[in-house]
């Protein structure tokens, strides 16, 4: 527990991703089983102890610390677990910290009744950092900026194994993952996951940029604007995985009993809506899908108002057969055959876009200004399904971004390397004619799209043109114009401007352009398509 507590403390104070990776990898290498497995589960939010809740801790503390002093302390610190770790009365014996494995064993053995006596015994064995780590581990939600993906990457880095394989095995296994460590650290054969609904890493695409491809070698498909998902059925269970490998099955319950045979399918999760996206039709904009994302439970109304379906791109495994080594053409043929066996209510096929040649394809792409389409995908006809982003196999050819001229309004300091720079910018458009006294309304925020040199210049601009300060935020004199690129814009009730941009980034800094020549908000509103 001592090393785990030190790791948690170090991660709390580390902003740099590489440094976090290094810290976790070092811990995983130096710690024995099963502690490292439990720690990994804790870091990726994979543990749950029903008997230990925040209220349990609160009640324990009120028996030990005078209630007024507890409340004043809790209000100042702002976190129950941390306040408790600091205020826990020091026991009169020296600490005898349990191993992470022992702590997990004790915590899972606790019931709502026994927790009142057993948790204090455990806390008495730890120092303040240990108590903090234990309480965070016990109540879940570490909130130390470590995602599941980061934890997997750190694991791969620790044992020098490919992260794609880690992802593939991880999801079929339960904490503390002994098979995973045996494989990565001891060189044992990889875990057998064929009969488990495990995630397989996605094949990803490179941006096309200036490349021109021959359509004899590449097939084109629309790039749909939903979320990329993997639907896995094995051992009578279906799961839905997101692009990062998170299990999002609970968010889309309507997809869990519609796949009638064992398979691993790759597709785009979309929502049916009135807005007819693409030539197949039936897909609503990303904005509609957003209503469904991130929910742990889904109401009946949600299911009815925003029904989800999967538009299939590819098939990886089918009824015990691994198709990933086959060329795309062969997999595509299998996909076209299997769609007949799937219910139309929840599946359709992403159709292949036919074009005479590349120039014709470019023309088709230009014509598609539809919100459900992000652009085109180009897939090498003879490419196997390879995890990750491999050059030359798949390309994404996004449609050109939309552009609008905005005025810089506020700037905030970045974090990590950028903590001394004002690098996060809020910009606005004119709410009417600026020459007749119209105001700027904020329309978006961006912190990318400029070089380090430009960042220095922008930082200098912000510092020398500040008119007001609100904590870490500076308001500028609104004298600088940004050409902002974005993928689409949607109506939004949450923003004062009534709209929300998707993927805004700084396209060009218009040092030359007077602010009153920036765009008006009507120009942006005209681009709303939902």
């Amino acid at each position: 527990m001592k090393h785990f507590a030190a790791l948690i403390d170090a991660l709390v104070y580390t902003r740099s991703r590489n440094e976090k990776l290094r810290l976790i990898a070092e811990y995983l290498r130096a710690t024995p089983d099963p502690d490292r497995g439990w720690a990994l589960a804790a870091l990726s939010d994979g543990l749950d102890f029903p008997a230990v809740k925040s209220s349990t801790i609160r009640n324990l503390m009120k028996e030990r610390v005078e209630p007024v002093l507890w409340t004043l302390s809790r209000d100042f610190v702002g976190d129950t677990a941390e306040t408790a770790s600091l205020l826990w009365p020091a026991p009169d014996h020296p600490p005898s910290p349990p191993s992470v494995g022992e702590a997990v064993g004790l915590l899972s053995g606790m019931t709502r009744k026994s927790v009142q006596a057993e948790l204090p015994e455990l806390l008495d064995r730890l120092d303040a950092s240990g108590r903090y780590a234990l309480l965070k581990l016990a109540t879940g939600g570490m909130r130390i900026g470590v995602s599941g993906r980061l934890a997997k990457t750190a694991f791969a880095q620790a044992f020098d194994v490919p992260v794609e394989e880690v992802e593939e095995y991880w999801h079929g296994l339960d904490a503390p993952y002994p098979e995973l460590f045996a494989w990565a650290a001891e060189g044992e054969p990889p875990p057998d996951i064929d009969n488990l609904p495990a995630f397989r890493p996605f094949m990803l695409a490179h941006p096309l940029e200036e490349t021109v491809v021959d359509l004899a070698d590449y097939a084109a498909e629309w790039k749909w604007d939903g979320i990329r998902v993997q639907l896995v059925r094995a051992g009578e269970e279906t799961r839905v995985y997101s692009r990062s490998g998170d299990d999002i099955s609970a968010t889309f319950p309507e997809l869990l009993d519609v796949l009638p045979f064992p398979a691993v399918l790759d597709g785009e999760l979309l929502v049916r809506g009135a807005h007819q996206g693409g030539e197949e039709g039936g897909a609503a904009s990303f904005n509609a899908l957003q209503q469904r994302l991130g929910r742990k439970t889904v109401s009946r109304k949600m299911l009815a108002d925003y029904p989800a379906f999967v538009r299939l791109y590819d098939v990886l495994l089918l009824e015990g057969e691994d198709l990933r080594e086959l060329p795309w053409t062969a997999r595509r043929a299998r996909l076209e055959a299997l769609i007949e066996r799937l219910p139309e209510s929840h599946f359709d096929l992403s159709r292949v876009v036919e074009a005479r040649d590349f120039a014709h394809l470019a023309e088709i792409r230009e014509g598609a200004r539809d919100d459900a389409i992000e652009g085109l995908m180009l897939k090498r006809r003879d490419s196997a399904y390879v995890a990750g982003r491999r050059t030359g196999l798949w390309y994404k050819w996004k449609r050109d971004p939309l552009l609008v001229d905005c005025v810089l309004m506020y700037a905030q300091r970045g974090s990590g390397k950028r903590s001394s720079f004002y690098s996060d910018y809020t910009f606005g458009c004119w709410d009417g004619d600026p020459d007749s006294g119209a105001d700027l309304l904020p329309v978006g925020k961006a912190y990318s799209g400029f070089t380090d040199e430009e960042l220095k210049k922008l930082d200098r601009h912000v510092r020398s043109n500040t008119v007001d300060r609100f904590g870490p935020v500076r308001e500028t004199d609104k004298s600088l114009v940004f050409e902002v690129a974005f993928d689409s814009v949607h109506a939004s009730k949450r923003h004062k401007s009534g709209l929300a941009m998707r993927f805004p980034r700084i396209h060009r800094i218009r040092w030359d352009k007077p602010p009153h020549e920036a765009d008006r908000i009507e120009a942006l509103r005209a681009l709303i398509r939902d």
């Binding site: 104070y13 100042f76 610190v77 306040t83």
Partner: protein, 343 residues
């Protein structure tokens, strides 16, 4: 016969010693001030006369230019030095004795005696050893006027040796970087440097320009700080693997860009709370304070054993509650201009 203790009056701008018509740590200019120590929320310029320890007077001359000449070429301010343990007689039959407070160089508690009644004003204080100033001395009294900056039971300052070890471990782990320590320019910075020397760190320590004069002043008062260099005179490469000390405000400032990939550390009692450290982008929190923590505050109140405890500033709610629970009479004074310094 006047009412007990009617001769000492807490006002929003300071503590008024009525028979002597002088003020303790006034936050606006007065004719005659008794000053506990040199921090800006206790000491300021513009008084007609200041009674303080010689070190505090020197700090005030440096920080608030109290020794400046007026247009006629005269120094209008009168500095009255008092040594630790020395008693001076004030008008109206009030005796004032300056007693070490253990807070920073020159810091003193002021013991006031009048008509057989004893009142102690602590200013700021701590009970831990500090190589830059003599330790706090307990003075029995009738009224104890205390600070409460860290007056919450969550505050427990660890032994400074542990924090120094953390700092030196981190320094050794990153020979290509430097460790940048944010520390209050008066007191904390010199204490950290002196403690580093005590821990055996004898490499040159680099200073932000704003700290140079105060460090020299400490050295003139007999505090050895070892070899100090100015950041502005050196290149990035020279500072790799070194400790750099700056005021907290410079931690995330443009100034820090001239340093070799600094590990950001901060020496402050607030670092005990993780969220406080994160808010300041601190990677290495060092829980080092020149104020009494919760156990020091409550222990001191017990040891002094006064009839009444008055609390000047800080988290007075919790300390008042503690006094109530321990059957000690206490009240909070609403003092103006006392703030949470970056301590």
């Amino acid at each position: 016969m006047p009412a007990p203790f009617s001769w000492i009056r807490p006002e929003p701008h300071g503590i008024h010693v009525v028979p002597a018509d002088c003020w303790i740590d006034p936050s606006r200019p007065v004719d005659k001030a008794l000053v506990t120590h040199g921090h800006a929320d206790h000491a300021r310029g513009g008084h007609g006369e200041t009674v303080a320890t010689p070190a505090t007077l020197a700090i005030m001359e440096l920080r608030y230019r109290t020794g400046a000449e007026d247009e006629a070429g005269e120094v209008p301010h009168r500095a009255v030095p008092v040594e630790y343990g020395e008693t001076i007689r004030l008008p109206g039959g009030v005796d004032a004795t300056y007693v070490p407070a253990g807070h920073v160089l020159g810091s003193a508690q002021i013991l006031l005696e009048h008509a057989g009644e004893r009142v102690v004003v602590t200013g700021d204080y701590k009970r831990r050893p500090d190589p830059t100033c003599p330790p706090f001395e307990v003075q029995p009294c009738d009224i104890f006027i205390t600070e409460a900056t860290f007056g919450l039971p969550v505050f427990c300052h660890p032994p400074i040796e542990d924090e120094m070890a953390k700092l030196l471990d981190r320094l050794a782990a990153y020979p290509e970087r430097c460790v940048l320590v944010g520390a209050y320019a008066l007191g904390k910075a010199q204490r950290v440097i002196a403690e580093l020397r005590r821990a055996g760190h004898d490499a040159p320590i680099y200073l932000h320009g704003a700290m140079e004069k105060m460090c020299r002043l400490y050295e003139e008062h007999g505090v050895e700080l070892g070899e100090l260099r100015l950041v502005s005179d050196h290149t990035k490469d020279q500072m790799r693997g070194a400790i750099v000390v700056c005021p907290p405000s410079a931690l995330n400032d443009r100034w820090s860009r001239r340093l070799p990939d600094p590990v950001t550390a901060m020496a402050s009692g607030w670092m005990r709370v993780r969220q406080r450290a994160r808010q300041r982008n601190v990677e290495l929190p060092l829980v080092i304070s020149d104020h009494a923590d919760w156990s020091e505050l409550t222990r001191t109140i017990d040891e002094v054993d006064a009839q009444e405890t008055w609390i000047t500033h800080g988290r007075e709610d919790a300390l008042l509650r503690w006094c109530q629970l321990h059957q000690r009479r206490a009240r909070a004074l609403a003092m103006v201009g006392r703030e949470d310094e970056d301590d």
